[in-house]
Symmetry: C2
Amino acid sequence: MGRLSAEDWARAALEALAEGGLAAVAVEPVAVRLGTTKGSFYWHFANRRSLIEAALALWEAGTEEIIAGLLEVPDPVLRMRTLLEFAFGDPVDAKVAFQLISAADDPLAAETARRVSARRLEFMGATLEEAGQPPGLARGRAVVGYGVYLGMAALHRVGAVDESIGDFMDLALSEMGLAD
Amino acid sequence: MGRLSAEDWARAALEALAEGGLAAVAVEPVAVRLGTTKGSFYWHFANRRSLIEAALALWEAGTEEIIAGLLEVPDPVLRMRTLLEFAFGDPVDAKVAFQLISAADDPLAAETARRVSARRLEFMGATLEEAGQPPGLARGRAVVGYGVYLGMAALHRVGAVDESIGDFMDLALSEMGLAD
DNA sequence: CCACCTCCATACGGTTGCGTATGGTTTTAC
DNA sequence: GTAAAACCATACGCAACCGTATGGAGGTGG
């Protein structure tokens, strides 16, 4: 593995967060995951808290990155479809979102989840408006669409639904009035 | 507080589960919550694991209880509306569902979440069928409706949406083709 | 080649939670 | 009223994890 950077630690922490929640973002277990020891960690970070912050920042940056890429897509309907492909194609994102919402007793986790969710809802709403939907309806459908995304990911995660990812996407599109 | 029963412990454990996840179902913290000590706990339970089992069983029993009550309502549309009133009126249930889904690395938590979710989806689907909807559509709408329920609870929990509970209910009803 | 800086391993003390042991207090049974 | 049962408090050993201290390996400039 060679020498490690702070970002290596942040990535590993984000993985741990997705799998085991905030409690799994623990120094020694993540060190094991990286094949190293605490000695390395406390060189790059002051404490466990700053590792959590780094992991959350990494996750939030991912959302901004995706949105920036989607802004290159001119057609709003295609843009929304592409967004859903990204969303349902990434199994980690919904897990992290879930873990953070569940860990809402942690102020930073709650605030990060709120900010990222709000950003996504705003982007989805704007795209639906651009597709010709009136503002109020666009907002409502964005909330429902993102809610379905989170809820479906949840049900899929525990095996309560068997429907394929593709079915979810078509369903979400039709819920938003964008059915083809 | 007087003397405690095993069910008192299970209830307190369920509260802790809703607020802090599986990790919060810890013997000593729950003892503090009850104003007692471990000595009481290990009289009623063999270990921490059995406390978790009791809390999960309590949660699952709640679903069955509600469904049993709803079976008394003859009209399927009214039955669905009553169900949603129960669902959105109980702030604890969705929290627990979320926590268990997040804690899906624990086999018992995952299996319980799966079983309860499947039971609810089945009940909702059957009710929609009884309301005159074709089976496939009824199933799909049940999945979407329950998914929205979970997702909305999540977004509401972190403050990403401000819409009132009542709005959620009307929205869910209209999504299921039961709008008045 | 050597002084220094970067990065990591190991050892230590402190905290929190699990599970056991043991004794004490309150209720119940007769 | 007393013996047994039910219930609870305290103290202990054990394990996981946090954060610190300290020293050592490996590259780099002079």
